[in-house]
Amino acid sequence: QQEIVLPTPYVSLSRKATLDRELASNGENVRSLGAYSPAVQELLAIDDLLYMMVGIEGNYIRLRRGRLKENSPSLFVDPTMDSSIQELAKRLLPLCENYLIVSQFAESRSHFRHGLVNHAFAAALRAILQDYHAMIAQLEHQFRLTRLSLQGLWFFCQPMMGVMSALSAVVQKANVKNISGAAMLNLLQSQATAMAGDSSARALLQKLTQAASAPYFGILERWISEGVIDDPYGEFLIDENKALQKESLSQDYHATYWHQRYSLRQDVPGFLSGLAENILTAGKYLNAVRECGHSIKIQFPDDTQSADAGSSRPYMERINIAYSHASSELLNVILNKFDLMGRLRSVKHYFFMDQGDFLVHFMDIAKDELMKRSSTIVMEKLQSLLELALRTSVSASDPYHDDLTCNVEKSALLTQLQSTVTTGIGSIETGGNPESFLANLSLNGSGLGTQSGTSNITGIETFTLDYKVPWPLSLVISRKALTKYQLIFRHLFHFKHVERQLCMTWQAHQATRRLSFVGTAISRSYVLCQKMLHFMQSMEHYLTFEVLEPNWHSMETSMQNSKSIDEVIQQHDKFLDKCLKECMLLWPQILKKLEALKATCQQYATTTQWLIPSLNSPDNQSSSDYRGQSNDYAVRATVRTRLRFKQLSLRNWKADDERNFKSTLGRIDDEFKAELKELIFLLISHSQTEPCFAHLAQALQGEDTLV
């Protein structure tokens, strides 16, 4: 992130330019080596080699020009040297070459931009080079005491040769790919494994790995103990996307915050690869707990420090401790401090209508507003009515009732669902896969508003509740979950509305009881009304008592037993998906049929509510007359009024109307019967994939045979 570069002109100057310059200036006064005797030649060769071994060009052993820039320097020996000495000296050259490579690497990788792992690795390399330098100094001492021959030099350098070649192999690979972070660690480890046969090289590489991974484990430790990433160079296996805010959860349909705020990077160190998921979740949970305002720090047992490198076991243990601790902590916070179950119960009260008085009250007071076209509905009015209903019903005792708001969607439920079908991505018809289905839904939801056909639907069809979910709970009750709740709510709400319409028809019928309608169309209407009511009520019964309640209970118990928040989220999603499926929302054909049936019922309700009062209108006057009479005459009066009604009805209810009513009724009745039959057929045909449909079909069929 920050660019701190070592401003040392000294290094660069001394490395390149001056080397060249001095070479040029001093080249002429070197006498050819061949002029000396072999003994002197050997001494000179040793002296040059000792220089060359610390990276300084000698007089007779030179760097091949022009090759310096490529990372593999190559040396050559003055050809005039005595051939046997020359041969021996050449054997030592790889050591010098390797030293050049390694020292260059150690120097350059200390720069800030290479990342912590490289820094630590370079530091470890420098320590080895320091030993190497000490060895050279020792050799020099021997040389000064004239105890060192070229043979001796060769012998003493043997252990270092192995070390240097192993190091330079690693370094060259690292140089080629210019790697850092986890890739570097992986390289070291794989190299160590490749060197398994050479025990000293392997031990060396393992030591290096340990040193290089120290900063990495430092980051890891903070992450799994505090949930904080302190990773200035982006080396850690987890990537933090700081742009995502937790507040977005209540808006974002895909819950990106939870899923993508922290993600695994491509390169994970090999020894952690099996644990990466656990590390990610452990830290994520800790971070979530931290965001909830708790600060926790997991204390680990300290005995793991001494464990040998390369084995991931001690870290595995720590990670597992951290994981279980974090997940239980987060679960505890969400379940107890933020009262998830209470919150869910509250959501259920409103969206699944399990406390009816609130909804009935609301439908009573908001009826007028809801009957308007959805584009003309004033949200504020609706909201204040909703609040009124909340405060005057039993919901006022719910501590979370303030979080309920309302909303008006752009299109009706069926259109919204249907458009998903027509755009037809995914196998909704067969599989009932809620994920792709809902994704389509949200995709189309925005585009639907512009459709022309949706302009005249009423608020009844588009009204939906909304719920403000505060932060840690929005993990569970995410936007997506809430959308599912809303779908179910709208489904139920519409059923409820149609049922209320039918009930009003029934009420209208009650007023005609005193009329003698035997043989008229009214009796038929009465029967039809009952049939429809039965249908509606058994549907509602099915939805609430056979789908929502049992599923809810099974979810509640499974949530009590879950061990991590992801499990809770999963349970909740599973519950919602099951509900959606069993509420037939994922079966467009069935849903369409249901919608048609509801439409028929509504048509019937409006027709009768229009017609019956027209026959009933004189009622008011006469009943007020009737009320004035004393008790003694009550019985007789009833008879009399009934007679009068009959006359009245005869007067008002003309044959024309009767015929008209009858034909309309007959048409509706037939339609209803036919559609019901189709619905039952559909249900039965689908019951193989969804067994619960069979039950519903049976309940409805029983009614069908009744007719």
């Binding site: 000294y10 001095e22 070479l23 001093n26 050279i136 290089a212």
Partner: protein, 675 residues
């Protein structure tokens, strides 16, 4: 190989060069920017390179030492400040280690280097050669490089910024580098932490050279809290997070506020308690320093918590902040109804006079008697003392109504909350409310005059006289118009008193409960005030609306005058009629029927027509203004204003009226604005 110089001499020169001193052969060459062997001296190339490489330490050392001597000896102290001093001192200490090493090397320089001889001297292990020097100098080299980098980076920086810059270098994976920098930082940050400690616990800015991240400005006592101290972000080291820095700033500010504005000493006890708690919990290592961020955090949290609590208590208990706010609400925001009613009754006639004839003194007396006569008399006398009458600057033609206002004198230290700006806003709200109240009062007065005059209308309605029926029409007109106006004013008043004032007040009280420090308190109060201003249509965005509202008020007052005139005339007529009737009955008894007609019709048709015309004009103007007002309401973004518009147009009477008139542009506006 032929060489003019012995290796021993070169080694000696290199050791000198490593301490920044030119030797006999090894000298600083500014062309090559480094220590090199004199070009005229004949040495092998390898030696030359090796020497040059070894002398890198010397080159770096020169830079570091130059920096130290420049800052410590030559430059004025202000230029580097205490942190810079600490930095130099820390560097110097590190150099001390280096000097020790050099001294050790120095002793070894004089041991002869065995050269190509078999003789082993007894101290043969301890001589120095160039290659041995390379081993010795490897570790100091890395350290020296680091120091040089730091010196380069920090050259232009001062104070907290130095610490921040060094902290940046800590992001290095080399354990050696880390431990070195940590050691260094602990030294460098010591002055900063000492400043923080002094500031947090004693409220002193102990900062001669402007290095602390809290900057103090000399200001008057009432501006102390708001302007006295600022956070200097450039001086904030990056390892102190911004929220913590803010907290530190506020803690010291609280202490200063207590000391200067409240003249309170209790904070010292609070600070001492905080220190004691921290020391107890930190089990012995309570020292502040770099790397002990948790210790700092806990100290600041303790101190801030205690001192802020103390401050809040002082503000609440000694200066009765809550009572003051309540008093302002009761008197300036007309919360105390009986007092306001009484004041308006008393002062009403006075205020109708031109502004320049009013005497503030007399009005103060009236205020006093209004207090005495209402429940306000039971209020704290200290609070009542602060209530004043204020005459605003007036121009020609202003009535008393325009210039009269109440003022509340908030004394120190609460002027920190109730600044002049804040009081000006209160004044604006008061003027608005007072105007509204006056309009309401006027309408009530109209009703008072109307009520006894019902009989006039009734009496004349029964008789089918032409003139009288015209009077009935006018009277009815007047009644309905008054009702309409009353509906508007009452609803507006209800909205402002209950949905704006009380609602904001309740929120404010709740926020006051949870406020931990003065900043939060001030913020809560400002939120309270701005919510009132916003919702009561006094804000920036509702200026047009407010103007319409004021013209509506003016219109209503005009209507009042009109109605008064009408009823005065009507009453006169009635009185005359009654006289006539009495006369008539007397006449009846005496048997005379003369003069009946002339006495009954004395309310002239001319007068009625003019009144009715004027009334019509008022009505037309009123309805158009009101319609404009209602139409503009939804344009306001504030949700609460939508409720006002519901309230005013509950039965959708105005909407329907509007529709029937069907002025298309307006209608379009209304529907389009609905979201």
């Amino acid at each position: 190989v032929e060489s003019e110089v012995t290796e021993a001499a070169l080694v000696r020169d290199v050791v000198y060069a490593c301490q920044g001193i030119d030797g006999r052969y090894v000298k600083f060459d500014s062309d090559q920017d480094g220590y090199v062997i004199d070009a005229n001296v004949k040495v092998p190339r390898t030696t030359r390179v090796l020497v040059r490489r070894l002398c890198e330490v010397g080159w770096l050392f020169r830079r570091v030492r130059n920096h130290i001597s420049e800052s410590l000896e030559d430059g004025p102290l202000e230029a580097i400040g205490t942190v810079g001093q600490a930095f130099c001192a820390a560097l110097q200490e590190e150099l001390g280690d280096y000097y020790r090493l050099m001294a050790v090397l120095e002793t070894q320089v004089y041991h002869p280097i065995p050269f190509m001889s078999g003789s082993v001297t007894n101290n043969g292990g301890n001589y120095l050669s160039l290659r041995r020097l390379a081993v010795w100098l490897a570790e100091p080299l890395t350290r020296m490089r680091l120091m040089a980098v730091l010196v380069d980076d920090c050259k232009t920086l001062r104070g907290g910024a130095v610490a921040g810059a060094i902290h940046m270098h800590l992001q290095h994976g080399d354990p050696l580098v880390r431990s070195f920098l940590k050691r260094l930082l602990r030294r460098v940050c010591a002055p900063i932490y000492e400043m923080i400690r002094r500031w947090v616990l004693e409220g002193e800015v102990d900062d001669l050279y402007g290095e602390f991240f809290v900057g103090a400005q000399p200001v008057k006592a009432e501006a102390l809290w708001r302007q006295g101290y600022q956070l200097q972000t450039s001086m904030l080291p990056s390892f102190i997070p911004e929220p913590l820095a803010k907290r530190i700033l506020r803690t010291g500010k609280s202490i200063n506020f207590l000391r200067v504005c409240c003249e309170d000493q209790g904070w010292a006890k609070a600070a001492a308690a905080a220190v004691a708690t921290v020391r107890a919990s930190a089990n012995g290592r309570g020292g502040l320093g770099y790397g002990e961020t948790e210790a700092l955090e806990s100290l600041v949290a303790e101190a801030a918590g205690r001192i802020d609590r103390h401050l809040i208590q002082i503000v609440y208990n000694r200066y009765k902040f809550r009572d003051q706010c309540l008093a302002i609400k009761r008197y300036l925001l007309l919360g105390q109804g009986d007092f306001i009613q009484y004041l308006m009754d008393l002062v009403g006639s006075e205020l109708s006079l031109p502004a320049n004839t009013l005497s503030a003194f007399k009005l103060s007396g009236t205020l006093e008697s209004a207090i005495r006569a209402s429940n306000a008399q039971y209020d704290d006398s200290d609070i009542l003392d602060r209530l004043r009458v204020k005459m605003m600057p007036h121009s020609d033609g202003d009535r008393g109504w325009d210039v009269f206002s109440l003022q509340y004198d908030a004394r120190e230290p609460l002027t920190t909350v109730f600044t002049e700006d804040v009081m000006a806003i209160y004044l604006r709200i008061f003027n608005f409310l007072w105007r509204l109240k006056r309009v309401e009062h006027a309408l009530s007065a109209t009703w008072q005059t109307m009520k006894p005059n019902c009989s006039v209308g009734r009496a004349s309605a029964i008789k089918g006289d032409g003139v009288k029926s015209e009077l009935t029409v006018v009277l009815r007109r007047c009644q309905t118009l008054r009702n309409e106006m009353n509906h508007f004013v009452t609803n507006l008043q209800y909205y402002i008193m209950f949905e704006v004032l009380e609602f904001s007040w309740a929120n404010f009280l709740a926020e006051m409960e949870v406020a931990h420090d003065l900043d939060e308190l001030i913020a809560a109060h400002e939120k309270y005030l701005s919510s009132i201003v916003e919702k009561a249509l006094l804000g920036e965005r509702s200026q047009l609306l407010c103007k319409t509202l004021f013209s509506l008020f003016d219109l209503i007052l005009r209507f009042r005058g009109l109605a008064d005139r009408l009823f005065e005339n009507a009453r006169e007529t009635e009185a005359r009629n009654q006289n006539a009737a009495r006369q008539r009955s007397k006449d009846l008894h005496s048997g005379s029927f003369s003069g009946r007609k002339s006495s009954m019709s004395s309310l002239s048709g001319d007068f009625l027509t003019s009144i009715s015309e004027e009334m019509d004009a008022v009505a037309v103007e009123y309805s158009s203004l009101l319609e404009g007002f209602i139409a503009q309401l939804p344009a306001q973004q504030h949700v609460d204003l939508k409720f006002l518009s519901f309230r005013l147009d509950f039965s959708e009477f105005y909407t329907r009226q509007h529709m029937s008139m069907s002025t298309t542009p307006l209608k379009f506006k209304r529907t389009s604005l609905r979201i």
